[in-house]
Amino acid sequence: MITSRTEEELHDAAASLRAMGAKVSAITGDINDPNHRTRLLQETNLMGGVSLLVNNASDLGETPRPELARASIDRFRQTLETNLVSPLALIQQALPQLQQSHGLVINITSDAGEAGYERWGIYGSSKAGLELVSKTLAAELKPLGISVVTVDPGDMRTQMHQEAFPDEDISDRPLPEVTLPFWAWLIHQDPPTLSGMRYQAQGTLWEIPA
C-alpha cells in the first residue's frame, strides 16, 4: 500500500513497483485527514494486514526557511501536524494490524532533528519530536511485539531537498537509490533486536545491538 497527495507521482511509483512484480494498492490522499488514514487501514486489512509501516510523508514548512524568531506559528503547527502528529495517529490506528504481524514501524527523520542548524528549526523540531515519539513507542510497544526504528536517509537529490535549497544546484547529492542497499539490509533484520535504534542510511555503520 502506498499513499501520497500527488496522484500522478503515486501512480508512477505504483506502476514501477508492479513492474518489479509487487502487488500494489495506491490511494491518493492527505495523511492529516483521519478519514484517509482509516481508508488506508481498511484497505490494508483486506490485503492481509500491515507488517511494515513507513512514515515518510513530511512537510518542510515555509520556504525560504525562516529563522524561528520570524517563523509563522500557524505554519509551524501545520508542519508539526504532518511530521509528528499524523505519523503517531497512523501508528495508533494501525496497532491492531501491527500487533497481529509483530510488525515494524520505520519513521523517517533527519539530521536536522539533532543538529540545531540555523533556519532548520521548524522542520528540525518536528523531526526531533518524531525521534522521541519513536524511542518511546519502541519501549511501550515492545510487550505487543511491535518494533520501531528511525532512519535518517541523508542528503539526497529530491524535490524536498531542492525546495530547501531553492537557489542551489543540488546535482552533487546522490539520487535516493543510494539508500537501496540499506533498505534491503534493514528489512531482512530481526525487528525486535533493532527496536529503538536510529539509522543513517548513508552511514558507514548499520548497527545491531551486540
Binding site: M20, L175, E177, P181, H188, T204, L205, W206, P209, A210
Partner: protein
C-alpha cells in the same frame, strides 16, 4: 590522495598460485617481512613471529570461515560465474556476476535478468549504487543449499581452485566469508603454541568478507564507495583489547578485515562491543587508531587494502616496503608471504 599515488608495477611473476602445503611444505613455511615504526624493513621466516612480538602483546584474528561462494550460472549471455559477496538473508545477497573466475565484469546485464543456478535461480534486482559490477540479487532457493550443491571457493586467474579446507584458517569457526580472510593462514598449531608460550594473547572478531575490491575507480582515493560487510566484536574481545592497551601491550590485527572491524568499534578512546554491517573505508584521510600493527599479505596496487596500509604508515613507506619485497622475491596474494607492519609512531599520542 590521487589514485596514481597507490600505483606500482604489478609483480605478476611473484603471484603465489599454490599454498605451501600443496608443495609438500607446512602452511607456516612462508616468509615474513617486518616494516618497523622507523620505516626500516627486516626479513624473517613466519615461525619467527613469536620472537618479533613481546609478552603482553595481543593478536586479533578473524574467526569467519570461508564459504563455497562461487556459483556457476546461466544467463542470457551464456555461461557465467556468480560470486556471492555480502549476505542480507539466505535469499538476498550482493553478488558479482563475472564472465569467469579470471574475467571480471561488469557484464551487460539488466534489472530483472534471471540467472539459472542448477535447480535454483537468482534475479538481478538493482546494481549496487556506485559499484556497477555488483548486484542486489534475489534467489528462489536458499543460497546455503545452492552453495552446498554447486558452489566452490572464489578464486581468480593466478591460482586454480582448491578444496574448501585450503581456504580455512586455524581460527575459522563461523562460515560467512565470500573470500578467505587469509592473513592467519600461516598460523599453524605450532606457531599458535609458540605465541602462547611467549605470553602473547590471541582473541577474535568476526568480519564476513565480501568479494575483493578491484582497483579503486575514482580518481580521488577517498571518494571510492565500499559495500557493507557483516561483523561482530564481542564484549569479551573489546575488553581484551582495551586491557592490552592499558597494560602497554601492542594490539596487532591479523588481516585488514580485523582493522576494519576494530576501527568501526573504536569510540575514539576504547573498543566497544559492536555488531552490524560496516562499510567503513580506511585511507590516509581517516588514519587507523584501534591497532598498533597489522599482520597481512602483499596486496595489489590501487586497492582499498593499499589505502588502509597508507593510513597506517604513509604511502611512501608502503612503496619502499613493496619495492624491498619485490627485490627479495616475496610472494603475493592469499597463498603468499606475510608482512607485519608497525604503525608509525606519532608524537603526543
Amino acid at each position: 590522495m590521487r589514485r596514481e599515488e597507490l600505483s606500482f608495477e604489478r609483480p605478476t611473476h611473484l603471484f603465489a598460485s599454490q599454498p605451501p602445503e600443496m608443495r609438500g611444505q607446512s602452511r607456516d613455511d612462508v616468509r615474513l617481512m617486518v616494516t618497523w615504526p622507523e620505516g626500516d624493513n627486516t626479513h624473517h621466516t613466519f615461525t619467527e613471529l613469536p620472537t618479533l612480538l613481546k609478552p603482553g602483546d595481543l593478536l586479533v584474528v578473524n574467526e569467519s570461515a570461508t564459504l563455497p561462494a562461487s556459483l556457476p550460472a546461466t544467463s542470457r549471455l551464456g555461461s557465467i560465474r556468480l560470486n556471492l559477496s555480502t549476505r542480507f538473508s539466505d535469499d538476498l545477497w550482493i553478488a558479482e556476476p563475472r564472465w569467469s573466475p579470471s574475467r571480471p565484469g561488469p557484464l551487460p546485464l539488466d534489472e530483472g535478468d534471471m540467472l539459472q543456478i542448477g535447480d535454483g535461480a537468482g534475479k538481478l534486482l538493482k546494481s549496487y549504487p556506485g559499484i556497477p559490477r555488483l548486484w542486489l540479487t534475489q534467489f528462489s532457493a536458499a543460497t546455503s543449499i545452492l552453495m552446498g550443491k554447486y558452489g566452490e571457493p572464489i578464486h581468480y586467474s593466478y591460482a586454480p581452485v582448491y578444496p574448501l579446507e585450503v581456504y580455512q584458517t586455524l581460527f575459522s569457526r563461523l562460515p560467512g566469508s565470500a573470500e578467505m580472510p587469509s592473513a592467519a593462514r600461516p598460523i599453524t598449531p605450532r606457531v599458535h603454541n609458540m605465541l602462547l608460550a611467549h605470553g602473547i594473547g590471541i582473541t577474535g572478531v568476526i568480519l564476513h568478507t565480501g568479494v575483493s575490491s578491484l582497483e579503486i575507480e575514482d580518481e580521488t582515493v577517498e571518494h571510492q564507495v565500499l559495500y557493507p560487510e557483516p561483523f561482530h566484536v564481542s564484549a569479551a574481545t573489546a575488553n581484551a583489547i582495551n586491557a592490552a592497551h592499558a597494560r602497554g601491550g601492542r594490539v596487532v590485527a591479523v588481516g585488514t578485515t580485523v582493522v576494519r572491524a576494530l576501527e568501526t568499534a573504536w569510540t575514539g578512546k576504547v573498543i566497544r562491543a559492536c555488531a552490524g554491517d560496516t562499510s567503513l573505508y580506511l585511507h590516509p584521510g581517516t588514519g587507523v587508531h584501534a591497532v598498533d600493527g597489522l599482520l597481512t599479505g602483499l596486496h595489489d596496487p590501487v586497492t582499498s587494502h593499499l589505502a588502509m596500509l597508507s593510513a597506517l604508515i604513509g604511502i611512501g613507506r608502503v612503496k619502499e616496503a613493496y619495492q624491498e619485497a619485490i627485490r627479495h622475491r616475496y610472494l603475493w596474494h592469499e597463498f603468499g608471504d606475510s608482512h607485519l607492519i608497525w604503525k608509525q609512531r606519532v608524537e603526543n599520542n
